[in-house]
Symmetry: T
Subunit: 68 residues, 12 copies
Amino acid sequence: MSGIYKKVEIVGLSEISFAEAVKVAVEEAGKTVRHMSWFEVVEQRGRIHDGKVAEFQVTIRIGFKLER
Amino acid sequence: MSGIYKKVEIVGLSEISFAEAVKVAVEEAGKTVRHMSWFEVVEQRGRIHDGKVAEFQVTIRIGFKLER
Amino acid sequence: MSGIYKKVEIVGLSEISFAEAVKVAVEEAGKTVRHMSWFEVVEQRGRIHDGKVAEFQVTIRIGFKLER
Amino acid sequence: MSGIYKKVEIVGLSEISFAEAVKVAVEEAGKTVRHMSWFEVVEQRGRIHDGKVAEFQVTIRIGFKLER
Amino acid sequence: MSGIYKKVEIVGLSEISFAEAVKVAVEEAGKTVRHMSWFEVVEQRGRIHDGKVAEFQVTIRIGFKLER
Amino acid sequence: MSGIYKKVEIVGLSEISFAEAVKVAVEEAGKTVRHMSWFEVVEQRGRIHDGKVAEFQVTIRIGFKLER
Amino acid sequence: MSGIYKKVEIVGLSEISFAEAVKVAVEEAGKTVRHMSWFEVVEQRGRIHDGKVAEFQVTIRIGFKLER
Amino acid sequence: MSGIYKKVEIVGLSEISFAEAVKVAVEEAGKTVRHMSWFEVVEQRGRIHDGKVAEFQVTIRIGFKLER
Amino acid sequence: MSGIYKKVEIVGLSEISFAEAVKVAVEEAGKTVRHMSWFEVVEQRGRIHDGKVAEFQVTIRIGFKLER
Amino acid sequence: MSGIYKKVEIVGLSEISFAEAVKVAVEEAGKTVRHMSWFEVVEQRGRIHDGKVAEFQVTIRIGFKLER
Amino acid sequence: MSGIYKKVEIVGLSEISFAEAVKVAVEEAGKTVRHMSWFEVVEQRGRIHDGKVAEFQVTIRIGFKLER
Amino acid sequence: MSGIYKKVEIVGLSEISFAEAVKVAVEEAGKTVRHMSWFEVVEQRGRIHDGKVAEFQVTIRIGFKLER
């Protein structure tokens, strides 16, 4: 009930799909951020190489509870 | 040619991907809504649990023809 | 370093997922556009038929280097 | 002074103009919704056939007082 | 985990504050909608009379679980 | 080449169409504002009475050259 | 039915709440503007001093009927 | 099912109304673009001359199927 | 005059009002962030429980001077 | 602490840069507006002549304290 | 008075400033596009190298008259 | 290919231009942030003093690779 949350903006990359890129972003962020609670998709882009999609890039905002 | 359409806003959930969450939203909505014609993605979010993506949440607007 | 880029807006279709629709859009566009470098997702929609998702539609902007 | 309002999202169609499409949407909606009070234009699109505008499509939000 | 949510758009009114207008919207909506879970503020407006604020008007989207 | 422009925000009303409401706004504004040069449509709404559109309301920004 | 409205953009300040800041903006504006009819909240910000909220700042657009 | 669509951004002009300006844009574009399928209104502006609306300007995006 | 500012995104919670939720966010953030100067409201949401507003949630961006 | 602010929307022109266009807008506006305090960039456009940028046009909102 | 305009989206690059990047985009585009009339700034980004701004990137939409 | 990026939001100040304010933001941020890769302009504002632009303020989001 009390306490506050912070949001950080992270970009995840994947060669497979946007959903994979979100998972990568969350799992990598989890190595330094604790108490992660939700994410919001902010932007979806990608890199093209040799006429094919080479990389899906998703920017998400991750919300987590601030410890005191 | 005549007739009008209505849009309703539905949130679908999936543990797998955004595309799955859209399918869930459409198929569940179809149990009470008839003549569904198209959808528009409005928002993509998700829940995080134990440092991993636990749920993809997609808000879509579903357009359907109003019967008279 | 010098030179400019142009963006074109393309809609890709897929029965499977948004990621597939992006791949279709990029690969088809690549048949006439050269030096494609990146894409940005602009809109995600779809068609519903018989109460199920029949088609994922993704509008992307593709950036490519203009040749001189 | 008391009471609340609800908004529903309706798409009206017309071969003539956006204003006509709005009128169609409001009049058709009025067959099932009572106490309609105002509308807001959300989106203006249309269908093209044989190189000509075949249909104006207007999405409006209609606000109406909820009866108790 | 399974199941879907629906969002409806409601306008609440109050002579006192935006927070009161939100409470009015939620409590009135609760008379016909069950399983309400969250709200999102969409628009804040108001009516002026005799040079003073006569009414705070808040449009919220209310999310609730669809029963099956 | 020199000089600056100012924009003012005006709401025009019409029983007929959005285009008429724009004309009304511009012509009425022209009674006190000089050197009007362009307009931009900002919002399109309307009033409903007895189940019919009673009034088209268009908010426009009018740009005009400031005299010195 | 006839006549047009103008909107002006005003910033109100309050040490207490956003609702108070709106009231201040409307009441102060009313000293020079007549026939004020409605307001729309455009932006909510504030000043922080010594680690506490020192001032709520609300930008509103006030609509009023133009006299002829 | 197969194939992709492209969108181009066109500005149509009319002395009469926004609907006319859309028709002009579509019909002129049709002289060089084939397989046009739909349009989306992006912006509505206009030119003022001698205190009257001299020209309605509508920017639309036209979607058309790319031939192979 | 010199120096730069950083913005962080914080979510504050309150059972009473949006203004209280902003105060909570600022005061809690102030326990670890120094030289806070202003805030901007980004999003207003809330949790509903038993048909009543259980929690106001406000996302704000807090700007503070970076020390060197 | 007390008092309110008003915002006006001004377009400045420059052949050199956006920054110059902002300076022109502020300095010209200052000939009739007093107590100007801040500006916000709203839009950046320009005129092209003979294949070159002929004019940078910046729309800014200027905030100033209302005197009583 | 008659005729229509088309808009194309171009990204210009410069090591110096956003204004220079706009000039580059317009001048390069002018090598293949005729009758260019205006531009609108859509996005401002840049590349960072070794802790310094290495490149200003401006996306503009260029409007030009379509020849018949 | 692997790894994720983080974005932070920084405000840079300059008496000269927006481009200078971006450079200041990037160079100051580089004193504590490593592996900075790109920036995106989010907001352009400024302070006015004595009827002249006293300060250009640019908010940018800086993207940098997270080290592991």
